[in-house]
Symmetry: C2
């Protein structure tokens, strides 16, 4: 086990590498050539554009103004400057609430750290067990942890007491946060300008009717059952084939641009390509001509398919977006049961148009339950048996396999040093590839499960990933061996034995997790802000594929908050903090630093970089809350297990109350707040309807909703700008009001914004 000095070294190294990333970032972001990598959000909003042509050529690419370098740290205060209400307008509620998760970590763990260092560290330090055991190697870290307390010592009461304090503090902070976010969500939904999804309900599983088309059937049904409220509806076409044609055409266009650029730069040789797979074989042809003809062919095919989809009644799937005359009517329809058979005419609030996942709208109920069953079983196998296929790949990809497949490599491989290098790296690479692919696999599984919006797919994938991390990262690091081995050994142990087995190993793994936090947390976050991959990709695209300013806009990859992968990772830090709070308080400062640093970085990113694909209005918060409480229950059970091996049996009844209380607290919060994230209350709908009727009595809602829910492939050629952004640009923010409520003096104008981002 490492001692304090080792941890100090490790911390120094990681801090230095994080610092290196940060300095690299600070330098790179000041270069105008990287402007679109580090400030894409402003470009997408149309507030920032490419550097003016008036300047010298050099200064278009490199920043020569030395003064800006002197204050290269100022992105940090700048990131914190923008007040929250404005940030919501600027980046959306999803992003703002997402970074509040980090802030929540700070709020929970700063007081816990202070308390733990004030109370538990002195208690542990003076425990004096480890000094007496001369034959055992121990470190200062262990002296600070619960391991230093002798068995059956009354000192354990301190730990039990503190764990109650930690529990109640967590309850308090988490409850307040849930309340705040529910309020924020409701205010956000109320303050939003008019949006099509407020009036619309997604209806699935429209039953077949022998006499009527889907469209007629939907119209009749809602006309009869919501007589005063039904307005109009959109049927959904099965445009999956069309969408793939469009995607293919886009890729061909990219290649065309690439070859045109190449020809422009070097007009002496006509670029050639081969017609076969990826241009690797086949007959050689003139590239530009060939791609032009291919695009022409595809365009015709696309046109034919488009006609067919729109004409053929069979391409209409049994789902529809039904719109109502008022928000009240839509809210009623979304929340009620339509018929006595609850598997047909299923209604739910429509997702935003850009949030719809079009492929999943037509799955019948029975198939849906079968799919969920299969995916549940698949997830179990994925989590517990994921080592098996990797081991197979590893055994296939060994030295002998490579020699057989590529005989010409034989002399190279037989060099001893290279051989051992390959043998050392290969297994790791297989695992690494799997872990990189994992989020996509989980997302694929979620898609099979049949969710109808991107936001729900993200939430569902996050739940799966959280389960995976819990078993394979957390448990896997504590108890040696693969998840499958753990499962086997746990199957043989009693329910009370399992927390003991894990609990005992907890203090021993503290230094490992401290290192993990530094490498994965600190350095990982610093790498996030550097955006190395988008940086390289942008410059590659910029060189090869960009012809017009619009191309350059498309070459930007602002990315977005990857809720499905990053939220479960944050949960691991919450879990570590809660588990070690009463056991090894030394770990807590590292957690606090992680949360503060991550908050800073992501606040900067959502202001300047990310462009969210959808806006769910923080619909993910109940999941975050639940997973945090799962972490708390795990921490409580492990403490119970650990203490019961220390011969402190009289403490057990106290500790057993903690998980029960936590589960009750979860239920309480669920009942108190969750519905705010699922439904639109009628009162709120009515208020907005009344307001709108008073302010815009002549609004023609039917026209407004006409094209709202059309499959994106039918929206020809026009750039797909999300509606909400348009509206924001059209209605500039009112600065005066914000100033007075937040006391912050940022001018909402292009100067003001440049102040924030520079």
């Amino acid at each position: 086990m490492a001692n304090l000095q080792d941890i100090g070294y490790s911390a120094a190294i990681n801090l230095l590498s994080a610092l290196a990333f940060l300095i690299a970032f600070a330098m790179l972001r000041l270069q105008p050539i990287n402007d679109r990598v580090y400030f894409p959000k402003w470009y997408l909003k149309g507030i920032r554009s490419s550097p003016t042509r008036a300047k010298a050529l050099v200064s278009k690419f490199v920043n020569l103004d030395y003064r800006t370098y002197c204050k290269f740290w100022n992105w940090m205060p700048a990131a914190l400057k923008m007040p929250e209400p404005e940030l919501i307008d600027h980046a959306g509620l999803d992003s703002v609430v997402y970074i509040r998760i980090y802030l929540l970590g700070v709020k929970i763990f700063v007081p816990i750290t202070i308390l733990a260092f004030g109370v538990l560290v002195p208690v542990n330090w003076t425990g004096g067990t480890l000094e007496h055991m001369k034959d055992l190697t121990f470190s200062d870290v262990d002296k600070l942890s619960i391991s230093n307390i002798p068995s059956e010592s009354p000192r354990f009461w301190a730990h039990v007491g503190m764990s109650f304090v930690f529990t109640f503090w967590t309850f308090y902070v988490v409850y307040k946060e849930y309340k705040t976010i529910a309020t924020m969500r409701l205010r956000f939904l109320a303050s939003e300008s008019r949006r099509p999804d407020q009036f619309t309900v997604l209806v699935r599983n429209v039953p077949p009717d022998p006499d009527e088309s889907v469209s007629e059937h939907v119209e009749h049904f809602f006309f009869v059952n919501h007589p005063n409220h039904y307005l109009t509806h959109h049927v959904v076409h099965n445009a999956n084939k069309l969408a793939s044609l469009v995607a293919k055409k886009k890729s061909l266009r990219n290649w065309l641009t690439y070859y045109q650029n190449k020809y422009q730069r070097n007009p002496s040789t006509k670029p050639m390509t081969k017609t076969g797979f990826f241009g690797l074989w086949g007959t050689k042809v003139d590239a530009i001509d060939w791609y032009l003809s291919e695009i022409e062919k595809l365009s015709q095919e696309e046109e034919a398919e488009r006609e067919k989809v729109l004409r053929d009644p069979k391409s209409v799937i049994p789902a529809a977006f039904v719109s109502f005359k008022s928000r009240w009517g839509a809210a009623v329809c979304a929340q009620t049961e339509q018929t006595s058979n609850p598997t047909i005419w299923l209604t739910e609030r429509a997702p935003e148009p850009r949030d719809v996942y079009w492929d999943n709208l037509a799955i019948p109920y029975f198939e849906l339950t079968i799919r969920r069953l299969l995916m549940g079983v698949a997830l179990f196998f994925l989590v517990f048996f994921f080592m098996i296929p990797i081991a197979i790949v590893q055994s296939l990809a060994n030295i002998e396999g490579i020699q057989k497949a590529f005989p010409f490599l034989k002399p190279l491989i037989e060099v001893k040093s290279i051989k051992s290098l390959i043998q050392g790296i290969l297994p790791g690479i297989a695992l690494k590839i799997f872990l990189i692919l994992l989020p996509s696999i989980l997302m694929f599984m979620s898609k099979i499960e049949g969710f109808t919006s991107l936001s729900s797919l993200d939430r569902r994938s996050a739940a799966k990933y959280h389960f995976f991390i819990l078993i394979n990262v957390f448990l896997g690091s504590i108890v040696a061996g693969t998840a499958l081995e753990q499962l086997k050994s746990f199957m043989k142990q009693s329910a009370t034995e399992i927390p003991k087995t894990i609990g005992v190993s907890i203090p021993m793994k503290a230094t490992f997790f401290i290192t993990y936090i530094m490498v994965d947390g600190w350095a990982g976050i610093a790498a996030e802000i550097l955006r190395l991959v988008p940086l390289v990709m942008f410059h590659l695209k910029n060189t090869f594929l960009v012809k017009t300013e619009q191309d350059r806009d498309q070459a930007m990859d602002p990315g977005s908050l990857e809720f499905a992968t990053s939220e479960p990772r944050i949960q691991l830090y919450f879990l570590l903090g809660l588990v070690y709070a009463a056991v090894t308080p030394l770990l807590l400062p590292f957690i606090v630093i992680f949360f503060s640093f991550a908050y800073l970085v992501f606040r900067h990113q959502i202001i300047n970089v990310y462009d969210q694909k959808y806006e769910s209005g923080a619909a993910f918060w109940p999941d975050v809350h639940r997973r945090l409480l799962i972490g708390l229950v795990i921490a409580q059970l492990l403490l119970l297990g650990l203490l019961s091996t220390k011969g402190a049996a009289e403490l057990t009844p106290c500790l057993i109350a903690q998980p029960i209380l936590t589960i009750w607290f979860h239920k309480f919060c669920k009942g108190r707040f969750e519905s705010a994230f699922l439904t639109l209350p009628l009162q709120d709908a009515m208020v907005r309807d009344t307001l709108e009727r008073a302010t815009e009595p002549k609004l023609n809602l039917r026209t407004y909703l006409q094209d709202a829910y059309i499959h994106p492939v039918f929206k020809r050629d026009e750039p797909v700008t999300p509606q909400i952004l348009d509206e924001e640009v059209n209605s500039p923010l009112v600065a005066t009001k914000r100033k007075s409520t937040t006391g912050n003096s940022i001018k909402i104008s292009s100067e003001g914004i440049s102040e924030v981002i520079s």
Copy 2:
């Protein structure tokens, strides 16, 4: 262990005792004096009245017509004769669906029995393990069970295969039944005549308003948020004190009648009573005068309280029954979220007026969650630690304790035979008393949990009782020792070990459970039809308390189906059947006989005796379904445990799929059917509204709903006849239509009915 002969004897004895009950019943029911005990339902409906005065005095009490005795068995075919649609009209859907549980048992277990005897019994019989073990005593029962198969025998595949067949058969029957009952419920709700609860929503947790009274606040809120649908509302008064006064007055009246009767029969002596506790001590006074004055006092007090409750705004609790102009409006309000805070303005479908549990309407949300937490913990202790208080009572109520408390009994107690008798009986009595009190304790706990209708209280108590039976009767019988000891030993075993431990004991307990089925099942059901307690009680009341014909009506105690206690008991039989189907098929015929016999008896009872306190429209079916599947999962896990001790490891993967499938099946059914039991679909509401508007355009709904939801104590003196009965009498059944659909030739007239009941 018992052999086949022993079981034969036991069966004979139990059959004889059941037969004795049945003969006693057949004789007693023919006596006119017992008419109100065995046919109270017909009296309540007003179709049957006391024997005509014209007959001789003797024949008013004893049936002298020998011919009726000859056909005293004909209640059985008569019970089966009434077709189901008519039975629903006659006894309500709750009762009809309740007896379908027994029918479901027959449907599940008859084919399973045939299959098990056709396949498993031969396989077991020729297994030939037990013959070779000369030192072991075994019986024929064991030769028929799985114990006779040697370890690692391929014959186990037969059991695994059959268990799959049983599982899928159960799925099929249970699915079909769920579907049937959902349809029955929807048809029932649709065919019902107009009822106040169709238009009404129960609103709880009305937030306090500084400026408005509860009534005004409710009116304004719903007027604003359901503008076209809100009609009227009733506030709820806290009339608990008033209700207790009314109850007290009623008891005093009974006493008055008793003394008046006494005086009438024997006018020579004026009856006297003592003024103290229950007339046991205090000054002696003239009984009739004293009770008259007491009633007078109480009446004044009641009147004052009534005034106070109705005048004082503080006696209005923050809950209300809100009525709408249409069923559609009420359905919408019940199913939607009203405000952004989901703990206020809670709306749900109003229970029937007679189903409302008035005491629980005013509990705030936070208190409710606390109450549920506490009752959850209490239930756990009740189930696992219930032996502790009983042991304490038992130790207190020993011989010495009795001697101390009642010294005058000393000489009696010291007689040796009496002493040993007491010592033998006392512990049993304490346990028996507890078991008799248990349903009341559970109901009390459910009331604390804050449910607002009698039907939901019944369902909730049934869930608790089911848990108790599962742990203390089923598990307690299989694994020796109290639940607490079991819990301790299970805590020390692994999750895979527990099914093994229990599974191994399963075959050994077969004969015990066969005996249990005969004693508790067969004889218990036969005792049910005899109605010994109501018989005695009726004659006591009839002698002492009856003055008028109306008094005699009130002296009848028709009773009702006690869902809270009897449904969990049926579940025990389902569980036993499913567990033993693949292990000891011999038990199955006993189960089948139980279900058939019980079906017959309860069908007779609901036709002739029971008078339900409320009609929930079979809202309990999802619970029945769920518990049945819980039984199936337990059976599957125990078979898995049993077989894994038999060295048949290759069978495990097959068997582990069963519980997963069952849980999936449960989820599937829940999604498919459950909402039919929770909500009123808008389509159905709209159909009925439209129909009503067409047929009764002039209906004044406000007048109709005026007094519907008034606390029963405010309905002065008028007899509380449930509305549904009134309506049924007003709209006599149309015989012709029923006949054609069911092919049954019962005339729905007083002659027809007498044919059914005689």
